[in-house]
């Protein structure tokens, strides 16, 4: 078979961009640097596209909350579920063991709060944050609280004793639950920025996270003694 001309080679690529090269095309490539370059570049682009396609991208968590609200408003989600209210729906989807863990945490939190009235707290680093949320709540920007808490999460995890993975695991699980609640509340505030109830729910969620972090810090301080 006689070698192709450059124009024929490119026409062949256009008509069959992914087909194996014919004998004529291979013979042409051996003699033509330009078409070698073209062929090599097409292959590189195709390979890069395939590699790119293997990446999965996680959409933001609030997308589901928003979608779910839309499904509820259209009545696509069963009424029995919709009537429970968004907070109960959210808690209803949590696994039982997680709920048990959360309940224990809440009991611990209540105990810790009661203890704060009669004794000095051990977590001096966390206490100002908790006070700042409840005392100056109306003035504090919501986004700032979220950022501040994210910074505190890192600090708390760094302060946990290395020999107690159970504490870290429990904290991670409970933070996951509270973060889901925060995501739902943040979405609600974004949609209704002037609704005081939505903002109160969000502040409440942030407060739960702050208290959870304070409890973990106290637990790790107690174990460190």
């Amino acid at each position: 078979m006689s070698p192709l001309e450059c124009a024929q080679f490119e026409r062949m690529l256009e008509q069959q961009p992914d087909a194996p090269l014919s004998a004529g095309a291979v013979a042409h490539l051996e003699d033509c640097v330009d078409c070698q370059s073209l062929w090599s570049d097409m292959e590189a682009i195709r390979t890069a596209g395939m590699e790119w396609g293997s990446d999965e991208i996680e959409p933001p968590e609030y997308l589901w909350a928003s979608l779910r609200r839309q499904l509820e408003s259209e009545g696509l989600i069963r009424e029995r579920t919709a009537r429970r209210g968004w907070l109960l729906v959210w808690f209803g989807t949590a696994p039982r063991w997680a709920m048990a863990g959360a309940s224990i945490s809440l009991l611990l939190i209540a105990a810790m709060l009661a203890a704060y009235h009669v004794s000095e707290p051990k977590s001096a680093a966390v206490l100002p944050m908790r006070l700042s949320i409840s005392a100056v709540r109306p003035q504090v920007a919501v986004a700032d609280i979220g950022k501040a808490l994210e910074g505190d999460v890192k600090d708390v995890f760094n302060s946990l004793p290395e020999g107690n993975p159970v504490l870290a695991s429990s904290l991670r699980e409970n933070l996951g639950i509270v973060d889901n609640l925060i995501a739902v509340c943040e979405e609600s505030v974004r949609e209704q920025p002037d609704d005081p109830i939505s903002r109160d729910y969000l502040y409440g969620a942030y407060q739960q996270k702050a208290v959870l972090l304070a409890t973990a810090t106290d637990r790790s301080a107690l174990e460190g003694q």
Partner: protein, 214 residues
């Protein structure tokens, strides 16, 4: 941060989730969403190149899916049905934008005098060195006309066959192949331009560095 997933939702199989979603079960809807949201979101993001729009399109695709889920009878794979639906949602949006902004011909075949695909073949100095940087590829894909971008993303990135693309985009198989080749040629030009810019900047930086030393 790792988020916890409800145990019940995580363990529900797809077929069971479909059956329960057809009855309006909230957990089943969430299960189906969690199973497919990353691929659908990635598809939308790559086709429109804009996170806010991709989020909007992902939500729209799932909304349409859940509105129609009662009609799903399992003749085709659920994921195929969903992804075709998602592609249609994106293409509808792109068509609306294209109609508003430019003609269909311009959407896939830009004016060659205005920087569109050229027929000349690049010399050795323009070669992409056998590999393409991921960041540059994403930048280049963003700059493709919508028609080329759709074909490239569907075929080379998402792995659709030309016969599937022909059905989705309502064109012939030959047209799908031809458009794919032109899309790759345009990408090659864009990537070569990025390389030239980078080389120019490096030369200028070296020049500045050497003159600054005196």
């Amino acid at each position: 941060m790792a988020r916890t997933r409800p145990t019940e939702v995580r363990e529900l199989g797809e077929a069971e989730a479909i059956r329960r979603a057809q009855q309006g079960d909230a957990e089943a809807f969430e299960r189906l969403y969690r199973l497919h949201n990353r691929r659908v979101y990635a598809l939308c993001l790559r086709m429109v190149g804009n996170t806010a729009e991709a989020e909007d399109l992902t939500q729209e695709a799932f909304l349409q899916l859940f509105r129609k889920i009662a009609t799903f009878r399992g003749e085709s794979a659920f994921s195929t049905w969903l992804h075709r639906l998602a592609v249609n949602v994106v293409l509808m949006r792109l068509r609306k934008k294209t109609l508003a902004e430019t003609s269909l011909d311009e959407a896939t075949e830009p004016d060659e005098d205005a920087g569109g695909p050229r027929k000349d073949i690049g010399g050795p100095d323009l070669r992409l060195s056998g590999s393409v940087d991921r960041v540059n590829l994403e930048r280049a894909v963003e700059q493709l006309p919508p028609g080329y971008r759709s074909i490239f993303v569907l075929h080379d990135v998402q792995g659709y066959e030309h016969n599937e693309i022909a059905v989705i985009m309502n064109c012939s198989i030959g047209n799908s192949k031809s458009q794919l080749h032109k899309a790759r040629m345009r990408l090659r030009e864009l990537l070569q331009e990025f390389e030239r810019s980078r080389a120019r900047e490096e030369r200028q930086a070296a020049k500045g560095g050497s003159s600054g030393g005196h």
